[in-house]
């Protein structure tokens, strides 16, 4: 019992540090990546190649005054950003970083992650409603309908993976995919799954982009229409927490994609599995998030919804049926 307390403390600190550093330095990666795509340099003044820029931003956000607009429910206004941050942090518990690095091997970890994701959506709704700003209300209404529309195909594609591995536990899923990239779910070759798996990978990736309100699906905080969406009235750390929440959601989305489809901590040639492979895969996926954001314009709310209802959901159900049939046959 005594080691488990130390172990819990160690993991608690480890996850906090991992989450904090990631939230800060993803901002830096995004600005550097956007810069390079737009043929400019990005932050380069503060510290070598701008590496201290996130720290400077953090200090600036901390030192600013948190303005609460008049006639607004204080409690709700202050809890919304915290509510955006906590689910993203807690879902790090269930993610298997490598064979022996996992905070707690929870039995139904896939379910836990999606439950926490919908709490994150609550935060957006609360933030928009509590700030009493017309733009924020429009943006929170959009965010709810968008997250709802994209959770269904996401869950259905996850079911196809769970059907394959037979268990809802992320560690199991990852263990099943060890030993080289041909064992990964994306390229699952035996008994004919290669047909359906990459479709569900693409659908899952699109839904994770939409789930984290990232362009081209950033209808919620559409800078050029709704000024700053649900974050309009937030200054200093309220805005900071919302941004950290968004970046952590991206990290969790990337971890989920790698664990479900890209074989978790497995090395592509099956030689030296370890946590560094897991991190490399996450950061490649995160770079594609950034890459997509700086390439595409924004979709319009109705086209976005019918993209989900008319395209993604039918495809994911068909995919599910085929996978189930294949499992039955072989």
């Amino acid at each position: 019992m005594e080691t488990s307390v130390w172990r819990a403390l160690l993991y608690l600190v480890g996850i906090m540090v991992f989450a904090g550093l990631n939230a800060a330095y993803l901002g830096w990666c995004e600005r550097k990546g956007a810069g390079r795509i737009q043929r400019r340099i990005g932050p380069c003044e503060v510290g070598y190649a701008g590496l201290l820029q996130p720290i400077a931003d953090g200090v600036k956000l901390l030192s600013k005054q948190l303005l609460v607009p008049r006639g607004v429910d204080h409690i709700l206004f202050r809890t919304a950003p915290v509510l955006a941050m906590i689910p993203a942090m807690t879902s790090m518990v269930a993610i298997p970083f490598s064979a022996n690095i996992q905070a707690r091997a929870i039995e139904l970890s896939v379910l836990l992650l999606f439950a926490l994701a919908s709490i994150g959506m609550m935060a957006v709704l609360l933030g928009g409603w509590a700030s009493g700003n017309k733009y924020a209300i429009i943006s929170s209404a959009r965010a709810v309908s968008q997250n709802l529309a994209y959770e269904i195909p996401m869950l259905v594609t996850v079911i196809t993976v769970v059907l394959l591995t037979g268990s809802l536990e992320l560690r199991e899923i990852a263990l099943k995919q060890q030993g080289g990239f041909w064992h990964w779910n994306v390229f699952r070759l035996e008994n004919g799954h290669f047909l359906t798996m990459w479709i569900s990978f693409i659908i899952f990736f699109i839904c994770s982009v939409a789930e984290t309100n990232r362009a081209p699906f950033d209808m919620a905080e559409a800078e050029s229409e709704l000024v700053a969406g649900y974050m309009t009235e937030y200054s200093s750390m309220g805005f900071g927490l919302f941004m950290m929440g968004e970046y952590l959601n991206i990290v969790v989305g990337a971890c989920l994609t790698t664990t479900l489809f890209l074989g978790g901590w497995d090395c592509p040639l099956g030689l030296t599995p370890g946590v560094w492979w897991f991190l490399i895969k996450i950061y490649i996926l995160i770079f594609t998030f950034i890459w997509i954001r700086w390439t595409y314009p924004r979709t319009q709310i109705y086209k976005l919804l019918n993209l989900s209802w008319k395209f993604l959901i039918p495809f994911s159900f068909a995919n599910l049926l085929i996978t189930a049939a294949l499992i039955k046959v072989f």
Partner: protein
Amino acid sequence: MNQYWTDIIYGGKSLLTGLAITAREFFSPVVTEQYPYEVPTMTPLFRGHTELIGNEETGLPNCVVCGACPRACPSNCITLEGKKAESGKGRVLTRYILDFSKCSLCGLCVESCKFNALRFSRDYNLVSFDKDDFIYMDLMKRLEEQNRCKK
């Protein structure tokens, strides 16, 4: 129904070409000019604020206080003062104040000057903590500074 499929195929292809283009841009060199370290050079006809021309030897302004430029200026930013020259003929410039906060750099004053006493300077980054440096920009003082640093 085929509109449904063409959307998917055509859309997917256009999305991928978009990604390919930004990827190529990601790896191509930086285009921007890092301002404080790389200073841009102005073209010969660049219009900075107007400045007096001093003749080479004496360094005194060529201006004969004829008053053409204050009349030509649409936003009357030029105030001139001159006094009789000791040698009896013509007038000598004593004060030339340009209100650079109202000047629209239209060039009508430089055009109206028949005595080649006014031209556009080429400094673009004028900075000061005090607005009066621009409202009462003393071109005589600037000419003396120029002469001093030329020596």
